[in-house]
Every structure is written in structure tokens, then in C-alpha cells.
């Protein structure tokens, strides 16, 4: 009997010693784990992100023993390159962070190198069911959830209302024309002439009306709207009649200067009043400044209108689904568990709506997308974001969303396609301007550029 008591006593002592050394959970608030994080929420969005991370660190983080430390804020293109460099272990590349925002195309590269955590392991089915299914679906490859939806976006039409109204007053163009691409093209031609007429002493100095922020996205969505697929078997289907339709619609206005040819963000042109409207990501809303600065340093306060994504005539109402999610890189069990806690917190409807209300992203849970968002709109002070969210709700109701395919080569394909189209268009524009110099404007109208078939040949090696 005595022996049993002694044995139990000794066992209890050893057990207490071991449990004191190891801890009974993965996290210890007295010895917190630090998670490094890269994100692409720069500019004004940075305030919101900083504030939210501070809040997490001061509440749930402090309670559970997690510190989130942001070590990079870059644009999504730079982030893609940094992550690819880090994944490839390129010389001079930084170490991969524990959490990073990434587009599916970037996540795919990391996942193929077995660097990402399958987030299915960190979330229960019940938890995942709270998110909008198509957002979750976008981050799944090989049945593994690599990109967790934190804030999504789609494309809308941003219109500089102040400049547009000035132009519309003198013409028969209205906002209704901006519902279709054909209407935009018509308005663009009229705007070029109208702006050219503002300076009668200078010939052919009309301004561009429109620019798509991503030609590749426009083409992909255009195909889908018109009932076809642009990317088939990881190649571009340029032989489709839809390509001819899109080419015919956009090529000539680009050459004639009605649509801007620009290798950069549309918001850069919007800052200087060089365009009136653009199809761009909802998340780009904070990049449209409240005033336009002209070349003589005068500024003009402007208001923006945010309209649903235009459709091709006879096309269906379809828009792209965009926006990076967050990926967790493989590290230790503690860090992976801690990262999942952060993701759960960050996407709770309350946090999610706070984030979108100052960034232009869209919420990711069904609960946040519903009644909660309609209520939240009333509390938003930023006029543009208010308009944007109303448009997003409208699109959510009326549009179908297109999730672009993800494969390793997609990024290169996109770049090559856009560069080649821009090259063809800008070369043609130079020729066109030379042609203008040599002939009168009537003669210039007889100028003939590349047909869709010729363009297919030039683009054919994509």
C-alpha cells in the first residue's frame, strides 16, 4: 500500500516537472511567437492595416501569445516577384514571411515547391462554410486550400464625373452609354473630338477617354461575356470570332488616341486628368485622388462615379473576381497555428467590414456580404468607397463572376499579351500620327491598320 502511495507521489512530481517545462498548449502568452507578414495594402490602406494589426497584437495576440510583425508592404507585382525570388532562393532574396498576401498565380508557384500550408488543416468544415464558396474555391489547388480569402475585389468602371459631366453637357452622351463597351467607344470618339475642339489653335490634341487597367482581364471577361473562353489548355484562343470582335472594337480607338495606350496604372493617368474613365479593380479606389493636377500645377477637385463593369452588347453580365488572399508558409506547428488564428480573426465579419470600409475591397463571409454590409455603408465617410460598395452589392446581385484560370505560365502569358498588344497599338499610332502629318484629317480617316487576322498572326506565338 505504502509503495503504491510513494509511486503515485513520484509520478505526480515528475509529471508536474515535465508539464512545467513543456507547456500544455502550442502557444504561450508569456513567450509569444512572432509572425512576419508581407502585404500589398499600401498607401492609405496601410493605415487601416496597421491599425488592425495593432489591434490584433493588443487583444487576441496578447491573450494567445502571437505578435504579427509587418516586414514588407509592396505593390502586388513587386510582392509576386519577391515571393518568387524567395521561393527560388535567388541571391539577394529575402526570407519568406510567415503570412503573405498573394494572388493564386503566386501561391501556385509556392505550393509547387511545397512551401505553403494546406489551410484545410487549420479550419473546420463548419468554419469554412461561413465564407463565400467561390472565394474559397479560388484558393484551392489539388484539393488543398492554399490561398485564404481575406478581402476580394472585382472590376468596376471608375468615371471622373466632374470632367465627364462637362463633356456630356456639350454632347448627347450620358452615363447610360457607359454601360456597354460599345457605348464607351462611342463616347471616347466624341470626347476626343470635343477635347480637341477646346484648343482650336492646336490640331489633333484631343484626349483619351478610357483605358482598361488590364487588357488581359478585359479580354478574358469579354470572351466569357460573349460565350467563349480566352484561355484554353493554358494557351490563348486567338482564332475565336470573339477575338475579332474585341480587336475591331478597341484597336482603332487606341490608334486614334480615343483610348490611352499606357504601360502603367490607369489611376496615374486619372491623377493628371488624362483619362475620364477606366475599368479597374475595386481595390484601386484609394488610388484615385480627390483632385486632378494639371501640367501648370493647378488642381481641380473632382468627384468619381463608380459604375458596374460594362458589358459587350449582347453579352452577359459577367465580371472578373480578383483580389489576393493570404497564404501561410510552412514553418513550425506553433507558427502555423498562430497564423490561422490571425486569419480567423482578420476575416470575422466585424474586422472584415472595418477593413473594406476604408480600402475598397469586398468582404469574404456570407454574413458580412449580406445585411451587415448594407448597414455598414451608411457609416462610411469616404464617398467613393460608399459608391463602390453600393455598386458591389448591385453587381453581387446581378452579375456572374469569372475566376481566371491559374497555372504556372499564366503570368508570362498575360505580360506577353499585354506588351504585344501595346506594341502593335503604339506602333500603329506612330504610323497614324505620321500619316496625319502628311495628309489632311480626311485622308487620315482612310488610314488602315492591322486587321484582327493580321493581329492573330503577330500574336500567334503566344
Amino acid at each position: 500500500m505504502k509503495r503504491k502511495v510513494l509511486f503515485l507521489f513520484t509520478f505526480f512530481l515528475i509529471f508536474s516537472l515535465l508539464s512545467a517545462c513543456q507547456g500544455d498548449t502550442l502557444l504561450d502568452p508569456k513567450n509569444p511567437v512572432t509572425l512576419t507578414m508581407w502585404h500589398n495594402y499600401g498607401g492609405q490602406m496601410r493605415y487601416t492595416m496597421d491599425e488592425m494589426i495593432d489591434e490584433f497584437n493588443g487583444t487576441i495576440g496578447a491573450e494567445k501569445g502571437i505578435i504579427v510583425n509587418v516586414t514588407s508592404i509592396s505593390g502586388s507585382a513587386t510582392l509576386h516577384e519577391k515571393l518568387t525570388m524567395a521561393a527560388n532562393n535567388d541571391p539577394g532574396a529575402p526570407e519568406l514571411p510567415d503570412i503573405t498576401t498573394a494572388y493564386p498565380k503566386t501561391a501556385l508557384i509556392l505550393a509547387e515547391k511545397d512551401l505553403l500550408v494546406d489551410l484545410n488543416e487549420q479550419f473546420t468544415e463548419e468554419e469554412l462554410a461561413k465564407y463565400v464558396p467561390r472565394f474559397i474555391e479560388e484558393g484551392i489547388f489539388d484539393n488543398k486550400l492554399y490561398v485564404f480569402p481575406t478581402a476580394k475585389s472585382t472590376e468596376v468602371l471608375f468615371v471622373n464625373n466632374t470632367l465627364f459631366n462637362r463633356f456630356a453637357k456639350d454632347t448627347d452622351i450620358s452615363f447610360d452609354d457607359l454601360k456597354t463597351f460599345e457605348g464607351i467607344i462611342k463616347a471616347a470618339e466624341l470626347y476626343y473630338q470635343w477635347s480637341d475642339n477646346q484648343t482650336p489653335h492646336i490640331q489633333n490634341d484631343g484626349k483619351a477617354f478610357y483605358i482598361p487597367d488590364s487588357l488581359f482581364n478585359l479580354t478574358q471577361v469579354g470572351y466569357r461575356q460573349l460565350g467563349d473562353e480566352f484561355v484554353k489548355d493554358e494557351t490563348l484562343d486567338l482564332a475565336s470570332p470573339v477575338f475579332s470582335k474585341i480587336w475591331d472594337l478597341f484597336y482603332e480607338p487606341m490608334v486614334k488616341g480615343h483610348i490611352a495606350i499606357f504601360d502603367g496604372y490607369a489611376s496615374d493617368l486619372a491623377k493628371t486628368g488624362d483619362i475620364i474613365c477606366t475599368t479597374s479593380s475595386t481595390a484601386g479606389v484609394v488610388f484615385f485622388p480627390p483632385a486632378v493636377t494639371y501640367s501648370d500645377n493647378t488642381t481641380e477637385p473632382v468627384e468619381y462615379g463608380i459604375l458596374p463593369y460594362p458589358t459587350f452588347q449582347e453579352g452577359e453580365k459577367i465580371a472578373i473576381q480578383r483580389g489576393s488572399g493570404m497564404c501561410v508558409t510552412k514553418s513550425s506547428k506553433e507558427k502555423e497555428y498562430a497564423a490561422a488564428i490571425f486569419l480567423k480573426w482578420f476575416t470575422q465579419p466585424q474586422q472584415n467590414l472595418y477593413f473594406i470600409s476604408s480600402t475598397g475591397y469586398l468582404p469574404v463571409t456570407e454574413e458580412a456580404y449580406g445585411e451587415m454590409m448594407s448597414q455598414e455603408i451608411n457609416n462610411i465617410s469616404d464617398k467613393n468607397i460608399k459608391k463602390l460598395l453600393s455598386t458591389a452589392i448591385e453587381m453581387q446581385r446581378e452579375y456572374d463572376f469569372y475566376i481566371p484560370p491559374t497555372f504556372e505560365n499564366i503570368d508570362k502569358l498575360e505580360k506577353d499579351f499585354e506588351n504585344k498588344i501595346r506594341k502593335i497599338a503604339s506602333d500603329s499610332r506612330k504610323e497614324y500620327l505620321n500619316h496625319l502629318k502628311d495628309t489632311d484629317s480626311k485622308g487620315a480617316n482612310k488610314w488602315v491598320g492591322y486587321t484582327a487576322k493580321e493581329a492573330q498572326k503577330i500574336l500567334g506565338d503566344l
Binding site: 510513494l6 507521489f9 513520484t10 512530481l13 516537472l17 512545467a20 508569456k30 513567450n31 509569444p32 511567437v33 512572432t34 499600401g42 498607401g43 492609405q44 496601410r46 493605415y47 496597421d50 495593432d54 497584437n57 505578435i67 510583425n69 509587418v70 516586414t71 514588407s72 508592404i73 509592396s74 505593390g75 507585382a77 513587386t78 516577384e81 519577391k82 525570388m85 535567388d90 541571391p91 539577394g92 532574396a93 529575402p94 499606357f262 504601360d263 502603367g264 496604372y265 489611376s267 496615374d268 491623377k271 493628371t272 484609394v286 488610388f287 493636377t293 501640367s295 501648370d296 500645377n297 493647378t298
Partner: protein, 541 residues
């Protein structure tokens, strides 16, 4: 149950006390004695360990180690920062000199002076476009996060803001920590948009055409001192405390120097930027020991750190607007420095002065320090937890020692008591061997003694010895006689003690006296005589 045990313990103690009174010695059992000796040994050893740890400084090692850790980290980072800021200061001066020469040459070619730049956007754009490559090259060479040129002229002096607006160029590297990057991380924060477009650079999200110099010490101070003092260029550059450019969201520090042409005309200023992110990533202290450690580069006065103008780096970045704008420095004897703010903020750490200017610089009176700090509670927690760990280990050691002593004393005494039980049995010759040599020898000795007594009694004339024995019985005292009578009735000492209601020790004392008076040496001998007397038919009463 527990009360019952307590009563037993009290009774036992009472018994021991009683026996001590009666016999004059403490009647502790051998097992208990051994147990107490072993515990004493354990206590002595633990005390010895504590003394050794005290002498070798293990108990104070926690504090010393923490101090050393922070000091090493501070030395390491301060060397790097000092070197980097020094290099950037030199590069600012070089950049300013080259830029001033180049712009002066261009103005000469165009046959205009500084006043000719006012309200002349074409020339301003041409000059700034011309300097773009130089600026970009300097930016890459300096490994800073931005480079800027501000000319003392504005594009449009008819505007209301023209008094506080100056034309210039501000190029930012958004990722200065990446060594190898093919995609552009360079953006234009200030300047003509065409410069960005012609060089395929995006405009910064918070781009503006010109600099707002309404609150811009980075512009006014070098300009003012260049006008006022006849110092060389290397004594005219200045560093700003951390601040946010109007309309932007990131904190930066700027190093700026005046642009002075060969005639002494001041054309503007130029310099480099260190962004908060660049600072944070470049000078991150090791946060494996203290996750909330951070490094602060800040303007200081004698006993105050101005955190409002500081750059921070660390695993956990304090939200600057919640931190007190000033921290008071207090030196503690043989310990850390303490840095206290107004909102119950207390940090411990160390700081060193950082020389950003030569002694004869126009800005030599601006003092800067680099500090490494950890929230006070974190250091205290570490020290308390290490002390608790030690105390726990010692307690555990003691408990294990006591347990071991208990086991050992029990194990050690067990064969001895069983040996004694054997001895107490009547027939020593047939007893089995015990595992202890000494007990075996004792049994053998007692067996041989018993045998001798038998032989002796057999050999000796029984009548004479018996008569003497019978005579001696009469000399027994009444108490001894009553004990003797019970021996006659074949009772053992223990049973006799029970019958007479006396302690065993009292019986033992009586027995010893009986042996002496009857001239016998053992119980066996006594019982032998008694049986012999009985056989001889003698009266034992």
C-alpha cells in the same frame, strides 16, 4: 483518519519523552536515527549547492546576462547605423556638389539665372529631367529609400499656394532591402508626371507635382544656414527627425544639403530619404529572447528621448501615436537605464549617443541617441520566472532527498530488525543465514555462547550452582521478584511489560539486575536454571 494518525504520533512522542525521562537517553529507533542523519546530509548538500551557486554568481547571472545581451545588441546596431548614416551624409554632400555644378552649367547654357526658373515649367522640367539619371544612380548607390531635389522655384507663381510650393523631384525606392530585383520598385513621389512616364515609372499613390514647403525644415534649415553661415558644404547638411510628408502615409527621415553654385547662389536643396520600413528592416534587433525588444533612433536632450521624432525597429513595433512623445531617462545603479513615459510606460535598456554631424557643423547642437529597450515587465517576468524555476528545482531536490532517505533508512534497517528477531527466537543453532555478515557472526557467536552455557551447566556440579542460584533468588527486590516470577512462568520480556504495566525498558533494567544478582548472563541461562530447579523439585517461591 488524519486525526487518528495525529493521536498516534502524539502518543509515540509522549512515549519517547517518557522513556527519555526514565532512562536518561533518547530512545530513538535505529531506523529513525538513520533517516534523520540522511535528511541532515540532504539538507547539507542542498545548502552546499546554494552556496556554490551564490559564490559563482549563478543567481545574479540572469540580470547580468540580460544586460550583456542588450549592450551587445546596442553596440552591434549602433556601429551599423553610425556607418550607414555617415555614408549617407557624405553622399548627400557629394550629390549636392555635383548637382549644383550640373544645374549651374545648364543655366549658363540657357543664359538664365535662378529667377528665370520661376514660372518656367518647360525649363524646370528640362533641368529635372536632365538630373533624373544622376538622381536615380545616386539612389541606387546610397541604398537609401529615396532621393530628392527641390529647386527654389515654382512652376506657377500665380497660384495661391506658390509661396509654399517648390518644383523638384522625389524618387522613391519602395523596396530598398531587395538587392536583386528586375521589376520596377522605383516610383515618382514628386515631380513632373512626364518624367515618370518617359522612364516607365509609376506615380506614387500619393504623388503630387510639387513639394509643399510650408512645414519643411528639410528645405528651410539648409537654405537658411547656407545664407547665414559661411561654412563648407560638409557642415551644412542636416537630418530631420522622423516625420510624414504632407499627403503621404509613411514616416521618413531626410538628410538634406543646400545646392550652392560657384557664385554662392543657393539653388535649392537635395538629399536622401530613410523610410521607416527601411530602418525597421535594416536594424531589427534579435527578438528571440525578448519578443518586444525594439531599437529607437531619436533626438535627445540630457535626460529625455523624443520618441515623436524617432525611428523604430523591432519584432513588435509600438504604435507610435500611443507611445508618449517623450521618455525620461533615469540611470539605475548597477542596472539598466529606465525610460519612462507618461502613460505608465516603462522600459529598461541602454542607449549610446550617435554622432550625425561633425563638431563644427551648423547643426552640431542637435543630439541623437540610439537606444535598445524592452518593456520593464518583460525583463521582470524573465527574472522572476528564472528565480521561480530555481526555487522549484531546489524544492524538488529536497523532496526527492527526503523520499530517498526514507527508502534507504527502511531498506537498511530491515535486515537488522529481522536479524534481531531471529536472535530473540529460542533455538539459535537452527536459525537460517541472513544476508548481513555482521548479523550472521552475531548469531553464530550467540549460538556458541548458548552451547557453552549448556555444556558448562552440564559439567558443573548442578547442586552447588543450583543452591547458589536458589539462595540468590532471595536477594531479589520485590519488583525484580515479580519480574522473575513471570519469567518462571515462561513469559517473554514484552509480555511481562504488558502484565506489569511497565515499559519494556523498565523490564529490561529489572532483567539486567536479576541477571547480575543471580549470576547469569542471558535469558537462556536464567530459564535453564529455573527448569533445573523445577526438575530438582526445589521451591521457587
Amino acid at each position: 483518519m488524519i486525526v487518528g494518525e495525529e493521536v498516534l504520533v502524539v502518543n509515540k512522542l509522549e512515549q519517547i519523552k517518557q522513556e527519555y525521562k526514565e532512562t536518561g537517553t533518547l530512545g530513538l529507533s535505529m531506523g529513525l536515527r538513520l533517516f534523520l542523519f540522511l535528511i541532515l546530509l540532504v539538507f547539507t548538500m542542498v545548502l552546499g549547492i546554494i552556496v556554490i551557486l551564490l559564490l559563482t554568481g549563478t543567481f545574479t547571472a540572469g540580470v547580468d546576462e540580460n544586460k550583456k545581451l542588450l549592450q551587445n545588441e546596442l553596440n552591434h546596431i549602433s556601429q551599423h547605423i553610425s556607418q550607414y548614416y555617415g555614408q549617407l551624409s557624405v553622399q548627400t554632400v557629394d550629390f549636392s556638389r555635383n548637382l549644383a555644378t550640373s544645374i549651374e552649367k545648364m543655366l549658363l547654357e540657357k543664359e538664365i539665372d535662378l529667377s528665370g526658373l520661376q514660372n518656367n515649367p518647360e525649363i524646370l522640367e528640362e533641368i529635372l529631367t536632365d538630373q533624373f539619371d544622376r538622381a536615380l544612380f545616386s539612389l541606387e548607390k546610397s541604398k537609401s529609400s529615396g532621393v530628392f531635389i527641390i529647386l527654389d522655384a515654382t512652376i506657377n507663381n500665380k497660384l495661391e499656394k506658390s509661396e509654399t510650393s517648390r518644383a523638384g523631384l522625389f524618387i522613391k525606392n519602395m523596396e530598398p532591402n531587395i538587392l536583386n530585383s528586375s521589376s520596377p520598385t522605383i516610383v515618382l513621389l514628386r515631380g513632373f508626371p512626364n518624367i515618370a512616364r518617359n522612364n516607365s515609372l509609376p506615380l506614387h499613390a500619393q504623388w503630387d507635382m510639387e513639394f509643399d514647403i510650408s512645414k519643411a525644415p528639410y528645405f528651410h534649415l539648409p537654405m537658411e544656414y547656407a545664407h547665414k553661415e559661411s561654412l563648407p558644404l560638409s557642415r551644412l547638411y542636416s537630418w530631420t527627425p522622423a516625420f510624414t510628408l504632407p499627403g503621404t502615409s509613411e514616416e521618413i527621415m531626410l538628410c538634406s544639403a543646400p545646392l550652392i553654385d560657384s557664385q554662392g547662389n543657393i539653388l535649392g536643396v537635395c538629399g536622401f530619404e530613410v523610410s521607416a520600413m527601411l530602418f525597421k528592416l535594416s536594424y531589427m534587433p534579435d527578438y528571440s529572447t525578448y519578443s518586444r525588444i525594439f531599437c529607437v533612433l531619436a533626438p535627445v536632450s540630457k535626460d529625455t528621448i523624443f520618441t515623436s521624432g524617432a525611428m523604430f525597429s523591432g519584432g513588435y513595433s509600438f504604435k507610435k501615436n500611443t507611445l508618449s512623445p517623450i521618455l525620461n531617462i533615469e540611470e539605475r545603479r548597477n542596472s539598466f537605464y529606465s525610460y519612462e513615459g507618461g502613460k505608465n510606460e516603462a522600459f529598461l535598456g541602454f542607449h549610446v549617443p550617435l554622432e550625425l554631424y561633425p563638431k563644427d557643423s551648423a547643426f552640431a547642437d542637435q543630439k541623437w541617441s540610439l537606444a535598445i529597450m524592452v518593456p520593464e515587465e518583460d525583463i521582470k517576468d524573465t527574472l522572476v520566472s528564472s528565480t521561480l524555476r530555481l526555487a522549484f528545482m531546489f524544492t524538488l531536490l529536497m523532496l526527492l532527498g527526503i523520499l530517498l532517505s526514507f527508502f534507504l533508512s527502511k531498506r537498511y534497517i530491515k535486515p537488522i530488525t529481522s536479524g534481531l528477531d531471529i536472535i530473540k527466537s529460542n533455538d539459535l543453532s537452527e536459525t537460517p543465514k541472513t544476508g548481513i555478515l555482521e548479523i550472521n557472526e552475531l548469531i553464530e557467536y550467540l549460538a556458541s555462547q548458548s552451547e557453552e552455557i549448556h555444556k558448562k551447566t552440564e559439567q558443573e556440579t548442578p547442586s552447588a550452582a543450583l543452591n547458589e542460584f536458589a539462595r540468590n533468588i532471595k536477594n531479589l527486590s520485590p519488583a525484580e521478584r515479580s519480574v522473575f516470577d513471570l519469567y518462571v512462568q515462561q513469559y517473554t520480556a514484552k509480555e511481562i511489560a504488558g502484565i506489569l504495566c511497565l515499559s519494556i525498558n523498565t523490564i529490561k533494567t529489572h532483567t539486567k539486575r536479576i541477571y547480575t544478582k543471580l549470576n547469569v548472563s542471558s535469558r537462556e541461562e536464567l530459564l535453564l536454571y529455573i527448569s533445573m530447579l523445577k526438575e530438582a523439585g526445589k521451591d521457587l517461591k
